[in-house]
Subunit: 205 residues, 4 copies
Amino acid sequence: MPRISPERRAAKRGDIIAAARRCFSRDGFHQTSMPEIAAEAGLSAGAPYRYFASKEEIILAIASDAFRLVFEPVQRLAEATDAPTVADLVAAALRTIEQDTVTDAAGRMVPVEELLRCAVQTWSEILRSEEVRDGAVKGFEGVHRSIAEALRRGQAVGSMPATVDADLAARTVMGLLHGMLLQRVAFGAADAAGLADGVQAVLRQ
Amino acid sequence: MPRISPERRAAKRGDIIAAARRCFSRDGFHQTSMPEIAAEAGLSAGAPYRYFASKEEIILAIASDAFRLVFEPVQRLAEATDAPTVADLVAAALRTIEQDTVTDAAGRMVPVEELLRCAVQTWSEILRSEEVRDGAVKGFEGVHRSIAEALRRGQAVGSMPATVDADLAARTVMGLLHGMLLQRVAFGAADAAGLADGVQAVLRQ
Amino acid sequence: MPRISPERRAAKRGDIIAAARRCFSRDGFHQTSMPEIAAEAGLSAGAPYRYFASKEEIILAIASDAFRLVFEPVQRLAEATDAPTVADLVAAALRTIEQDTVTDAAGRMVPVEELLRCAVQTWSEILRSEEVRDGAVKGFEGVHRSIAEALRRGQAVGSMPATVDADLAARTVMGLLHGMLLQRVAFGAADAAGLADGVQAVLRQ
Amino acid sequence: MPRISPERRAAKRGDIIAAARRCFSRDGFHQTSMPEIAAEAGLSAGAPYRYFASKEEIILAIASDAFRLVFEPVQRLAEATDAPTVADLVAAALRTIEQDTVTDAAGRMVPVEELLRCAVQTWSEILRSEEVRDGAVKGFEGVHRSIAEALRRGQAVGSMPATVDADLAARTVMGLLHGMLLQRVAFGAADAAGLADGVQAVLRQ
DNA sequence: GATGAATGAGCCTTCATTCAT
DNA sequence: AATGAATGAAGGCTCATTCAT
C-alpha cells in the first residue's frame, strides 16, 4: 500500500513537471540541473527521484504533454467535423499558438510560450531518444490520420478536389502548425494575433 | 609567415565542421564531446582549439551554415522571379529538403539529412544563445523580406490577390519549409519524394 | 532545514582549509590540484565545491588567515602598550615565527612552518589577484597604522627620538618580520631559536 | 661546431629571459605560457626550446638573476668596506630597491619593479624546486657570510659592540632588504624615496 | 636553425544520482 | 517520505613540449 495516495502522488508529479517546464523554457533541457528543478518546485535535491526515475523521464513527460497540447485542437476539429477544408484545419491548428495559456493534463494553466519553447527543444530530443521519438511519431501519426481521413471525407462529398493527395494535405496542415510555432518562439515573429485567420486567407487566395 | 596557408587553414576548419556535423547529427550538440569531434576529424583532443575558440563557436558555425543552406533556394527564387506565386515559392523551398545532398560554403557535399538534423537542434540553441538567435533572426528576416517583396510585386501585376497579407504569406512559405523539414527528420515522414510538387498541388487546389 | 548545522559546516570548511594548507605548503598553490585537496581532506573530488565556489576562494581564505596570524601579535602589542620601542615591537613580531604552532581562526593548531610557507606563496598571489592584494594591503595598513601610532605615543613621552619618521620605523618593524619569515622558510635560516631576542639586541646596539 | 656563435646564442638567451621577465612580472610564472614568452620575444612557439630545455630552466635563470641583482650592492659594500655598521649595510641594501632600473648580467637595463616582482615569485619557487632553492640558499649564504665577516671586522676594531651576534645582525640586514622589497611591490608601500636614509635613521636612533 | 601545428596529459568544475540520517 | 551532503564520472579547455617541414 502506497505511503501516499495516488492522487497526491500525481499532484506532486504535476508540480515537478510544471517546475521543470518553467526551468526548461527559461534555460533549456541541458542547461537545467536536477537540483534546479527541485528548487523551483520547492523540494530538496533528492525528492524528484521519488517521482521520476531520471531526468530523462521528466523530459519524456514534458515532451508527451507538449505534443498532445499542440496537436489536440486540430485533431478535435478533424474528428468533429464532417468535411473540413485544409484552410479550416490550419486555422484550428494555429489558434493554439495564438493563445496565451493552455490547460495541461492536470488541469493546470500553462503559459503557451513556455509550452512552445519546450516543444522546440523536444524536437531535438527526438533525434536522440528512441522513447521520445516513439511518442512523437505515434502522436504525429494519430493526428495525421485524423486529418487525412477528414480530408478524404471532404473529397467524398466533393468539398475538396479528388486530385490532391489527402496525406500530403494533412502533412501540410501540420507543417504549418510546427512552422508557425517555431516562428513564434525562435525567429522573433511573435505577433501571432490574427495568425490563424491570416494564413487561412492566404490558403484561400 | 604561417606554415599553413589560409586556404589550408580554411580547409581544416571545414574538416572540423564536417566532423562536428556528423557527430551532432548522430548524437546531438550536448551529447557530443569535444574529444569526440576531434577524433571524428582524425585529430587530437586539443587540435580543434587552434581553429575554434570553443565548442560554442563550432555550433555557431554549423548553425549559420544550416540557416543559409535551408534558406538559400527560396530566397534565390524570390529574388530572381518577377511575380512568383506562394505555391511556386513553397515548391522551391521544399525542393531543398527533398534532396540527398547539398553543397556547403566550402564546396563540400553534405548529406541533407545530416544538415537538417543539425538545423532542428539549432532551433533549440536559439532559445539559449543570443548569438545563435541573432544569426537566425537576421537570416529569417532577410528571406522573409525577399519573399514578401516578391509577393508584393505579384500583387502589383495582379498575379496575386491584393487582399492577402504578403507578410503573412511569406511567413506561410517559411513555416511550411520548417514544418516539412521537421517532419522529415523528426516525425518519421521521410518519404520526401514529390513533396514539393504535392504540396504545391495542395495549395493550388 | 539544513542537515548539517552551521557549526558543522564551518568545521568542514576548516577541514578543507587545513587540508589545502598542508597540500599548498608541500607543493605550492598551482601544483596542487583540487582533487588532491579533496583527497587530503578525505573527501571526493566534488565535495569541496559545496563549501568553496572555486580554488581561488580557498586560496583567498588561506591568504587571509596567513596575513592575520602573522600580523596579530605585533598589532596586539602595539595597541596594548603605551610607548613600545622599535626593538620591542620587532621582538613581538618575530616571536610568532619562532614558534612551532599557532592557533587559527577555527581554534585549530596549525604548524607555523606550514602557515609561513603559504604566506610566502600568498605574496606571489598578491601580484596576480586583486582580491588577495586588497586583503593584504588592508591588513598591512592596519598593522602599520597601529605600530606607527604606538611609536608616536613614544615620541610624545620622549621614549623615542622625535627625529625619526614613525611611519618608516613601522615599516621597518614589518619589513623585519617579513624578511625573517622568508629566511626561515625559504633561505634555510630556520634556526629561529632566540631570533626575537637576538635581533632586539642588534637593534639596541 | 655550433651553427650559431656562442655570442649570438647568449644574446638570444638574454632576449628570451628579458621577454620572460616582462611576462612573469605582468602575469606571474604560472599564468604565463611558453608561447606567450616566445611571442613577447618575437619568436615562434618552438624557438625558446633551442635555448632552454624547459620553462623551469627559464625560471631558474630569472631566479638566479634576481637573487644576484638584489644581493650585489650590499655584498659589494660588505667586501669593500673595512668596518661598516649595520645601518650602513642596510642603507646600501635598500638603495637597490629605491632605484628605477638596474643592469643585468647581459648589460641590459631592467626596470627594478619588474625584477622585484619576479623576485617575490621566485621565493615561492624556492618552496617547490630544489634547484631554485639551492641557488637561493647558496646566494643567501654568500652575502650573509660577507656581511657577517664585515661586521666581525667592525667588532675587532671596536666600531660595533662585541656583544651582538654578527650572524644575526647580518640576517637583520638581509631581512630588511627582503621585507622592504616586498612592501614596495606587494603591499603598496611603493614610495621608496628616501627609504634607505630613513631606515638608517631609525636604526641609529 | 626556425617554424608553428599538433599532441595529449591534466586541470577545474559540474551535475545526475545515491543514501545515511 | 524527505532531506541534502556526498559521490565520481565526465566535460571543456589549456599548455608544455615535440617534430615534420
